[in-house]
């Protein structure tokens, strides 16, 4: 670039050629501060290299013991636990969908037009949206005793606010024209819902519910850790006694089951879409 062309370019767009040093200095300082904060947090959590090294050594040994995976002669019991896990996920999802449906209707802006009420209701759902199923399961197990019942309720409680939010958004995004069309043909409110609303809403809502079923099957696998039955219980037991060949067997079986359910659910969702 000749001197003349450079001067010309500088006159047109100075920022493109000469990054202002104040900004570069600010960026560098911010980066350093962020790094310092991260290191400070690591120190606060006592993440020391020594523990890291011994841990990785142990982890390597565990991974070595995982091969070859073995059922330990309990494949029937493990398969039953897997079925129980699916049962928890399915029952939990259905209950969550049934409860979330009316909540979703109330939460839809098109149904409840009072903005203050709408805001309060949405925020109320938001508050509970972040609570993971395991946190619910922990307390439900001590309330209802060991077993899959607590797991079902935990999954449902964790899903209800999320599904309700999705349902109300789906309702809000419905195209009003088919509804107007059916209404203008003189249909009763029930018929308007059946032929104007349901054909739009039902496939979307079913697809969302299937998506939650997939997620719940993953979550249900770990609820057993706090005593809510299913495959997590079997897994926890074997990790405690360091039977890692059986752990590997259960994890592989469970991952295959998860992949199967995901594939099935995805093909169903594609058909609905």
């Amino acid at each position: 670039m000749t001197r003349q062309a450079y001067d010309q370019a500088l006159a047109i767009a100075p920022a493109a050629l000469r990054a202002p040093w104040t900004r570069r200095a600010r960026d560098a300082v911010l980066l350093l501060l962020a790094l310092a904060a991260l290191v400070g947090m690591a120190i606060d959590l006592q993440l020391v290299p020594g523990a890291l090294m011994t841990g990785f050594g142990k982890l390597g040994r565990f991974l070595g013991e995982m091969f070859p995976p073995s059922s330990g002669g309990q494949s029937v019991r493990i398969l039953k636990a897997l079925a129980e896990t699916f049962a928890m996920a399915f029952a939990g999802t259905v209950i969550a969908a049934l409860v979330a449906l009316p909540l979703g209707v109330i939460g839809a802006k098109t149904v409840v037009s009072n903005p203050a009420l709408h805001f309060v209701f949405r925020r109320f759902l938001d508050v509970f949206r972040g609570v993971p199923a395991l946190v619910w399961a922990l307390i439900l197990v001590s309330a209802f005793g060991l077993g899959p019942f607590a797991g079902v309720v935990a999954l449902a409680l964790a899903d209800i606010p999320n599904l309700a939010k999705l349902f109300s958004e789906t309702l809000e995004n419905n195209d009003p024209k088919p509804i107007e069309g059916v209404r203008s043909a003189g249909a009763s409110p029930l018929l308007v819902m059946r032929f104007g609303l349901a054909p739009q809403f039902a496939p979307a809502a079913t697809s969302q519910t299937l998506f939650f079923l997939e997620g719940n099957f993953r979550n249900a696998g770990v609820l057993g850790i706090v005593g809510a039955g299913g495959i997590g219980f079997e897994l926890d037991e074997r990790i405690r006694i360091f039977a890692f060949d059986e752990v590997a067997f259960i994890i592989l079986l469970y991952m295959i089951a998860v992949a199967c359910l995901d594939t099935l659910s995805r093909s169903l969702r594609n058909r609905l879409a």
Binding site: D44, L45, G145, R218, G232
Partner: protein, 295 residues
């Protein structure tokens, strides 16, 4: 008056056939659904008699036990008075400390996981990694990480690294790598190739191409995804504590071990507030980033 037009008749026949097919499909679907539901309720002992049945009654009893029994006239009394706020949140400093630990776990894991995901994303993006076997292997590893539930990973890591935040941070880092690696790679594949070509024409090496051709295009999107991930990791970190990975989850576990249901509710409220605050923060930052991207 009957219709005799053959076209109309053919149409009616066709329509009837379609209706029958639709209805059979619906009936079969409904039957499968009902059977699955009944079996599920049976297997999960939802109405099981061995645990006393009456699920609603037990729910009500349980909610009653969670009630801290606040008395409006005693709210501001000291710790010894039952019914005061202080007696309900009796260990607030300890819980806030544990909650902050959970936040630290989530932030550290998100930061480390994002950096790892950044590296992985360049190894799996079709337009940046010309060597196919590397793409294949890294992709399969990321997929395996995403299939394995976090808590199962945490159980194994707690067994290896001992009870404490270290196992939790490692678990969340690995799962963040799995989740963000895929998303980052997708962003990488959608970049404008012309800027890369310009740099190539100017003779830039692979690193310079990434620094000046890719980064400016993808960083705002990366940051936005990483912040969403931070929200998820916070809830995850709270849950991981339950299996011994440190933070506020450990306090929850403790409250349950002593069957202090009202304490559990208090800690749960702290967790909800913590997640709510981080959500607000992350949403504000993300909106600013999106604004910057548009400008």
């Amino acid at each position: 008056m009957s219709v005799t037009n053959p076209t109309v008749e053919a149409f009616e026949r066709e329509r009837r056939r379609m209706l029958i097919r639709q209805r059979t499909q619906a009936a079969v679907g409904l039957a499968i659904f009902t059977v699955l539901l009944l079996v599920s309720f049976q297997r999960s002992q939802f109405f099981g008699s061995d645990i006393g049945g009456d699920p609603l009654g037990r729910m009500a009893h349980f909610l009653q036990r969670m009630n801290p029994g606040l008395k409006p006239e005693l709210l501001l009394e000291d710790r010894q008075t039952r019914g005061s706020l202080h007696a309900w949140f009796y260990a607030l400093p300890i819980w806030l400390r544990a909650a902050w630990q959970t936040v630290e776990m989530a932030i550290l894991a998100t930061a480390m996981g994002s950096v790892l995901a950044l590296g992985a994303s360049f190894l799996t993006a079709q337009n940046l990694m010309p060597f196919a076997p590397v793409r294949f292997v890294v992709r399969r590893i990321l997929e395996a990480i995403r299939t394995l539930p976090d808590l199962i990973m945490a159980l194994i890591l707690v067994a290896a690294f001992g009870v404490g935040p270290l196992a939790g941070v490692l678990t969340l880092t690995i799962s963040t790598l799995g989740g963000l690696g895929k998303l980052f790679a997708e962003i990488n594949e959608e970049i404008d190739p012309r800027q890369l070509e310009a740099l190539q024409a100017a003779g830039a090496g692979p690193l310079k191409k990434i620094r000046y051709g890719v980064m400016p295009q993808v960083l705002p999107n990366y940051a936005s995804y990483a912040l969403i991930r931070l929200e998820g990791n916070l809830a995850g970190a709270a849950a991981l504590g339950i299996v011994g990975a440190g933070g506020i989850g450990l306090e929850l576990q403790r409250a349950i071990t002593y069957t202090e249901f009202d304490t559990y509710l208090a800690i749960l409220l702290i967790i909800i507030a913590m997640i709510f605050l981080i959500d607000l923060f992350s949403e504000a930052v993300r909106h600013r980033l999106i604004g910057l991207e548009k400008a």
